[in-house]
């Protein structure tokens, strides 16, 4: 099994928890990360559009989807940011929504770097 990413201690990504979840199956782990890499950008774009359009219902639904996806990957901080976004969208708190989205984008950018680094390590 490839070593845990160096930055995992920062809780961007709880790698050990994820390993337990996939029962140490590296092939499955890579499959899941590839699914994330393929689906996430589109989901985030849709979320950004919904927030821009002030569509609270859609923002809440997309945040919920993202939260589930991130939680499954043990991306603790990004999942928490998505949960906050979902809460705000449900409360129709439009003023705070954009800031929460920025926060989510920052967290997922870091997460994406971690994932890329891990996937490169696996390929090497």
């Amino acid at each position: 099994m490839t070593q845990a990413p160096e930055h995992s201690s920062r809780s961007v990504w709880n790698f050990s928890e994820l390993l337990v979840r996939v029962e140490n199956d590296q092939e499955l782990l890579v499959d899941l990360l590839n699914i994330f890499k393929a689906d996430f950008p589109q989901l985030l774009r849709s979320l950004r559009s919904a927030v821009d359009a002030g569509d609270m219902k859609k923002s809440a639904a997309l945040s919920h989807n993202l939260r589930g996806m991130l939680a499954n990957l043990a991306a603790t901080r990004a999942a928490a940011a998505a949960a906050e976004l979902e809460k705000l969208a449900k409360a129709a708190d439009q003023s705070a929504l954009r800031g929460a989205l920025d926060c989510l984008e920052q967290e997922t950018a870091t997460l994406n770097q971690e994932i890329d680094s891990y996937l490169q390590g696996v390929r090497a």
């Binding site: 337990v20 979840r21 996939v22 029962e23 199956d25 499955l28 499959d31 899941l32 699914i35 994330f36 689906d39 639904a61 919920h64 989807n65 939260r67 589930g68 996806m69 939680a71 499954n72 990957l73 043990a74």
Partner: protein, 320 residues
């Protein structure tokens, strides 16, 4: 065991699928509630299901509610997967008909343990259904011959008579009695008598079509109902049945020559009369067959004028 996973998040779906395949399940995965409902309502559907709460088309609780309305299907054990964790939402999920729920992200070992609980519940349900079916069989069948018992064959005959009258068809009713059966019991014993009755039941069943009915009407009396039987063919069909019986039966005391006498009635010739009147008519014809030398059949003729009140068949037992 087959299991359905309904989950729109592809990561969660893949995780679940892999975890359950490792546990030996035969996994079927779909991505929305509508597909889940189609699978669960299909023939030989999985009886274990993991349903995500929030899904496109139809959410998990809606799938549960729809499945619980279909009482005729075998019980399905459904577990809701949810990231909702308030008590109110848990109550809503369980009230929709779910058997259990798990909060995401789930622990694999906990998930498998909960599914094993589901399997135990389904096993228990299967045993209860089997016990109920056995009881139903015993309540409607004769234990010696496994034929329909008197109550069950009369119910079916009554329904068939109404149907054939409604559809302007004819039902042939045969009441048969084993000739000199008392002698078999008296000389060879009741166990041989039972062997004879069981063999006659087998012969009667193999002489009729799959959609006809055969029942044990009394001790050595059998009732045969030939559905949609043209009056032109009724007597010939009855004669074939009589001949199929009139062959030696191998018993533990050796081969035995056995015959039966039959009263035969075509419902179309009798019009809309009560079951009691028809039974009285066919019983009278059977009596005539006995009086006419046995090992033969006699057709029941409808009375030209209205019958006196029917005598209950129980009161018409004769020494046969």
């Amino acid at each position: 065991m087959k299991i359905l996973i309904a989950e729109d998040d592809p990561i969660s779906r893949k995780l679940l699928q892999k975890a359950l395949e490792r546990a030996g399940y035969d996994v079927l995965a779909v991505e929305n509630g509508k597909q889940a409902l189609e699978v669960l309502a299909s023939f030989e559907a999985p009886r274990l299901a993991l349903l995500d709460w929030v899904m496109p088309e139809l959410d998990g609780p809606a799938v549960c509610r729809a499945i619980r309305k279909r009482a005729e299907q075998p019980y399905a054990y459904m577990v809701l997967l949810t990231s909702k964790d308030s008590k109110e939402e848990t109550v809503v999920g369980l009230e929709s008909g779910a058997d259990d729920y798990l909060t995401k992200p789930f622990n694999i070992e906990e998930l498998r343990a909960r599914l094993r609980v589901g399997e135990r519940i389904l096993l228990l349900e299967d045993r209860l259904v089997e016990a109920r079916e056995n009881m139903r069989f015993r309540a409607t069948h004769d234990p010696l011959t496994s034929l329909l018992n008197r109550g069950a064959i009369l119910d079916l005959l009554n329904r068939e008579l109404h149907r054939s009258h409604r559809e302007n068809k004819s039902t042939a009713v045969l009441l048969g009695d084993v000739d000199h059966f008392k002698r078999v019991n008296d000389t060879l014993g009741h166990l041989v008598g039972d062997e004879v009755l069981a063999e006659i039941a087998r012969r009667l069943l193999s002489a009729v079509r799959s959609y006809d009915f055969v029942g044990r009407y009394g001790g050595e009396e059998f009732l045969v109902v030939l559905n949609s039987c043209d009056p032109a063919h009724g007597p010939a069909r009855a004669e074939e049945i009589r001949k199929s019986i009139a062959k030696p039966i191998m018993t533990t005391k050796g081969p035995l020559s056995i015959s039966m006498s039959f009263g035969v009635l075509q419902s179309s010739e009798w019009g809309p009369r009560s079951l009691e009147e028809l039974l009285h008519g066919v019983d009278t014809a059977l009596y005539e067959a006995k009086a006419g030398g046995r090992d033969c059949l006699r057709m029941a003729k409808p009375p030209t004028e209205s019958l006196p009140p029917a005598i209950p068949p129980e009161l018409l037992r004769h020494e046969r």
